[in-house]
């Protein structure tokens, strides 16, 4: 009886603590959301308003009407950029991950070792010559430099996918070899169906990473109409520092798609994470 009560009290304390921590983690989201629906004056009013009253719904239309922050255009830029990269990553990385995770060939461990090194290497160390090359080709200001590399694969996502490919039993491939399937057919008909979920997971991660990518589009793109939302928000915020309500609406618009996507697919995300950390 007594221990039961203590367990019950402990549970209450635990949840009180966890909810308090959760509140701290959620505060920025909440503040972003409510500030997006306030006027600038209300944002800086003292005492603080914890709930906008009235909710300034017209902030939405006001933002859409601005020509110094073409959010709709930039939203679709982000969709195009992140979507294309996600598709390319799934295609190209599943080839290499299969070679690393399922096949035995001479030089595999060396190439994979280099891949891990590439994964740990700071981007900037290889970036400048690549930038100069694109610039010489006259392709800065377009999405080519942002997308083309993913045609060939990406060290991080290859690493992640390989973990899943390694889980496919070798016997399955051997059985297919005995059944007379070609190596390409084994990849396509036997192995890929086993890692379908993994492909979706990696696609989702690529989508999120690319949606949030900042440095590359900042450097490669120039025109406001070409920017993805992440850089568009930065440009707007640094040029119109006083317009907080609009900035917050922009931030909300930038963050919301990924948050929603995550809420609908979080089980997959968490499975993806557990594979990157181990090993």
């Amino acid at each position: 009886m007594k221990t039961q009560r203590r367990g019950w009290m402990g549970m209450l304390g635990y949840h009180a603590l966890m909810l308090a921590i959760s509140a701290i983690f959620l505060l920025p989201f909440y503040w972003m959301a409510i500030s997006a629906f306030k006027t600038n004056a209300e944002i800086f009013s003292n005492p603080v308003t914890w709930f906008p009253d009235p909710i300034r719904w017209d902030n939405v239309t006001a933002l859409l009407a601005r020509d110094d922050f073409p959010v709709v255009r930039q939203f679709f830029n982000s969709v195009f950029y992140a979507g294309t990269v996600a598709v390319l990553v799934v295609l190209s990385c599943s080839l290499a991950a299969y070679a690393f995770g399922c096949l035995r060939w001479r030089g595999r461990d060396l190439v994979f070792g280099l891949t891990v090194c590439a994964l740990l290497m700071p981007t900037i160390v290889t970036f400048l010559p690549i930038y100069i090359a694109w610039s010489r080709l006259g392709l800065t200001g377009t999405y080519w430099p942002l997308i083309t590399p993913f045609l060939f694969g990406d060290a991080f996502f290859i690493f992640m996918l390989r973990q899943f490919f390694m889980g496919v039993p070798r016997e399955l491939m051997d059985a297919a070899r005995l059944d007379g399937a070609s190596e390409f057919r084994i990849w396509w008909q036997i192995v890929l169906p086993q890692v379908r979920t993994a492909l979706v997971i990696v696609g989702l991660f690529a989508l999120v990473y690319t949606w949030n990518e900042f440095f590359l589009p900042l450097v490669y793109l120039r025109e406001r109409e070409d920017l993805p939302l992440s850089v568009g928000l930065f440009t707007f915020q640094s040029q119109r520092a006083a317009e907080w309500a609009a900035s917050m609406m922009g931030a909300l618009l930038t963050a919301l798609p990924m948050v929603l996507l995550f809420l609908f697919t979080q089980r997959l995300f968490q499975r993806g994470l557990s594979t990157t950390g181990l090993k």
């Binding site: 016997e171 051997d174 059985a175 297919a176 070899r177 007379g180 036997i190 169906p193 086993q194």
Partner: protein, 352 residues
């Protein structure tokens, strides 16, 4: 059905030689079991026959054809894997049909073959199911079906029973024996379980560290092990191996007690005796004594573990009701009827 002939087969991983030259013929229609401790190379050897591993040196012939460098599907072999290796995303029907389709067999013939095979193995009602919705035994049957349907020269089994529970394992074992009888097919079966080896095999190949230690019928391997390794590996509980010498009056124990039998000029030998050849001694016939450290009661028999004075461990198989307790000193008599003798090089001395 074809024979399998290996000559001088070797396999290296880098500088490490895992198969150190194997010569072996499996006759047409024979069921041969590869047995050995884990890491002995038995699975590797099987996979080399299947074409799943390169044969670095030597030749592999199947049904009189040199297939050393042929891809797996062109060797006329079919394999049943340890974990079944059924394609999880395909129905049993598609699992059976996959190999035939790859071989370009016409559609209606594929369907006919699948139906026939399924009927034979009584898995017709499973054809629309995927492996995930089947029990272990059902999966096993589908896996066998996938092997049968291709009408191979040779069937290869890679420890296919090791993941089944004990009861099912016995049932599947008898099913494979029946299959072998019905199809009169050449079969090679890999296992680490010597009961499986003894019950299934026409002949047993005992492997150790990449070498063949002995090839023979289950009786030969059990009663006349070719060397100390086979003697220690085959049989459970294991054979007792006692140091002895060949004296002028016959086999002599270190204690000086003469057991008789083969004579010699004092050469050191190892005397091998199955646990059922050690008997509880009557008063004056004690040839060996030991302290009972453990008695395992198995019902109709008991296994008695002893330590002799010189630290030698002994195992004795007794009747179930044998009156021995832990801590007792037990006197033993040795029955040389089924004894084996091994020379200093570990090889069996010719019997008789």
């Amino acid at each position: 059905m074809g024979a399998v002939r290996l000559s001088g087969v070797r396999k290296l991983y880098g500088a490490v030689e895992v198969i150190k030259g194997v010569d072996l013929t499996v006759e047409a229609g024979e069921l041969v079991v590869f047995v050995g401790p884990s890491g002995c190379g038995k699975s590797t050897l099987l996979r080399m026959i299947a074409g799943l591993e390169d044969v670095d040196y030597g030749r592999v012939e199947i049904a009189g054809r040199d297939v050393t460098e042929a891809p797996p599907a062109r060797r006329g072999v079919a394999m049943v894997f340890q974990n079944y290796a059924l394609y999880p995303h395909m129905t049993a029907f598609d699992n059976l049909a996959y190999g035939l389709r790859r071989a370009g067999v016409p559609r209606d013939e594929v369907t006919r073959s699948v139906r026939e095979t399924a009927a034979m193995l009584q898995i017709t009602e499973l054809l629309a199911r995927k492996p995930g919705a089947m029990s272990g035994g059902q999966r096993q049957r589908v896996a066998i079906g996938r092997a049968i349907i291709r009408k191979p020269e040779v069937f290869l089994f890679d420890e296919p029973l090791s993941n089944l529970d004990a009861a099912l394992r016995v049932e599947m074992r008898s099913q494979i024996a029946r299959l072998h009888h019905d199809l009169q097919a050449t079969m090679i079966f890999v296992t680490h379980d010597q009961v499986e080896a003894m019950t299934l095999a026409d002949r047993i190949v005992v492997l150790n560290a990449g070498r063949v230690e002995q090839i023979g019928t289950p009786r030969e391997v059990y009663h006349a092990p070719a060397n100390l390794f086979v003697a220690g590996f085959i049989g459970s509980p294991a054979m007792n191996l006692l140091p002895a010498t060949l004296g002028p009056a016959g086999v002599t124990l270190p204690s000086g007690i003469v057991l008789g039998g083969r004579r010699g000029a004092g050469e050191p030998v190892t005397l091998g005796l199955r646990p059922d050849r050690l008997l509880l001694a009557e008063e004056n016939e004690t040839q060996l004594t030991g302290l009972a450290t453990l008695v395992e009661h198995l019902g109709d028999e008991s296994i008695l573990h002893l330590v002799a004075g010189d630290g030698q461990k002994l195992t004795v198989k007794l009747r179930g009701d044998a009156p021995v307790r832990i801590g007792e000193t037990v006197g033993l008599r040795l029955d040389l009827g089924g004894a084996c003798l091994f020379g200093a090089d570990g090889r069996a001395l010719p019997q008789g």
